[in-house]
């Protein structure tokens, strides 16, 4: 019969994950950024949303976003800020936290949604080795790990809290007040 207490507690790991969507204009369909993991190690060679480890227990939104900004700029060549040199941020907010269990790791994922402005051309230009921009409609058929699917589901669920307020306002965007 089983040896209960011999099983070890899993290692705790905390990451921040960014579901980055690039849309031509606010309210339109866009493309999600996926990165390819290294050829060796955990989940080798699989695709993921931009993901960084969070150490030292500081899981505040501010801390995670500043770390993610660095990573997007340095690691992925995707700087946020003002056009034309940088990508204009339309919307950015946390969508929740999920836990994923590996055989020996218990990973807590803090997931944020980040929507930036840019057309298909921008996405194609930004595509390079290890970076892929996947159209919204193709996310389902793209081979994603369970972990990535969990994060994506959080982003989708949150969207369902309500439609985007922006669409009700955009007709008036250019009207003078």
């Amino acid at each position: 019969f089983p040896s209960a207490t011999e099983k070890l507690a899993k290692r705790e790991e905390v990451v921040a994950m960014c579901v980055l969507k690039m849309v031509p204009r606010e309210g339109q369909r866009g493309r999600y950024m996926l990165l390819k993991r290294p050829a060796s190690g955990l989940l080798a060679g699989l695709w993921e949303f931009p993901t960084i480890p969070i150490e030292g227990g500081d899981t505040t939104c501010t801390h995670r976003q500043s770390k993610m900004d660095e990573y997007l700029q340095a690691g992925c060549g995707t700087p946020l800020g003002k056009p034309p040199k940088k990508l204009k941020v339309l919307r950015r907010h946390d969508v929740g936290t999920a836990v994923h269990l590996f055989s020996h790791i218990r990973m807590t994922m803090h997931v944020e949604m980040l929507v930036v402005e840019g057309g298909q051309e921008a996405a194609e230009a930004a595509e390079k080795a290890g970076v892929r921009w996947v159209a919204e409609g193709e996310m389902g058929s793209f081979g994603l790990t369970t972990m990535v699917r969990k994060a994506f589901k959080l982003a989708e669920d949150r969207k369902r809290e309500g439609t985007d307020m922006m669409q009700y306002l955009k007709g008036n965007k250019r009207q003078a007040r």
Binding site: G27, G162, T163, M165
Partner: protein, 264 residues
């Protein structure tokens, strides 16, 4: 130069109660006509629009229109220095990047002055369409607050439907299913206790309940509030402050299959 004095300083306290959980930083627009604010919550589902008319203030003075950014959480902390019966004066020099709040007791024996740095907040100014609504319900603020709090212990989503007889709030969750109906009622002596329905077409919409709970934090501003609904449009929840102005919350409806709407 901007300067404005409120006799009832705690009005601003009450306004901040309702705002700070929805928006953490925002631009206040100062103009000769009054002070206004418009901001979306971080997930772009809700929008708040505040308007305080210049007439609402004693000694209102605004030399030129200007937009000043503030951290609302910090502002709330600062407002704690105001006693409930204190007057409040706001001052902002056009040449400086700060605002001064002065709180004075009625007896003029306490004088508090707080200075806050302003922030540079990037925001587009978006217009809110002046919709005509299919249904407008007025009801006591306290009752609306109670209903959304009660329902939120049962479910996450609320379906609001208005017929000529009244307004029904429904939710369901693991615990069960609940429907609360408030009927048109104008029999009470005090008008603030009335519930009235103004209906063009019956309408049914679904929303994230937690936003309604946040809106209801403005209950102390006004005895009556109103809910205005139209098919496929954001609901407007309004707390009017007599002649002084109003605070309006807009919340986008939930739509089951949102994908189909994405390609606009």
């Amino acid at each position: 130069m901007f300067e404005a004095k409120l006799i009832q300083g705690n009005l601003i306290k009450k306004i901040m109660e309702g705002l700070k959980d929805l928006v953490t930083e925002a631009n206040f627009d100062l103009s000769p006509g009054g002070v206004s604010l418009q901001a979306m919550d971080s997930s772009h589902v809700a929008l708040v629009a505040l308007m305080l008319r210049g007439d609402a203030f004693e000694n209102y003075r605004c030399d030129r229109p200007r937009s000043i950014g503030m951290n609302l959480v910090n502002l709330s902390k600062v407002l704690k220095c105001a006693g409930n019966d204190d007057t409040m004066t706001l001052k902002a020099d056009d040449t400086q990047n700060n605002i001064t709040l002065v709180f004075e007791s009625q007896a003029e024996d306490k004088y508090a002055e707080v200075q806050m740095e302003l922030m540079d907040i990037d925001s587009e100014h978006l217009g809110i369409p002046d919709n005509t609504y299919d249904a407008i319900v007025k009801m006591p603020s306290a009752q609306f607050s109670q209903i959304v709090k009660d329902l939120s212990s049962i479910g996450d989503t609320v379906t609001v439907s208005v017929t000529k007889d009244g307004i029904t709030f429904s939710t369901s969750g693991d615990v069960g299913t609940a429907h609360i109906t408030c009927k048109q009622n104008t029999s009470m002596e005090k008008e603030a206790d009335h519930t009235t329905v103004n209906l063009e077409h019956p309408v049914t919409l679904t929303f994230a309940l937690r936003y309604f709970v946040t809106f209801a934090k403005s209950t102390s501003l006004s005895h009556q509030m109103s809910i205005s609904l139209s098919k496929e449009l954001p609901v407007m929840v309004e707390y009017a402050m007599g002649d002084m102005g109003h605070i309006r919350f807009y919340l986008a409806p939930k739509i089951d299959d949102e994908e189909s709407m994405d390609d606009s």
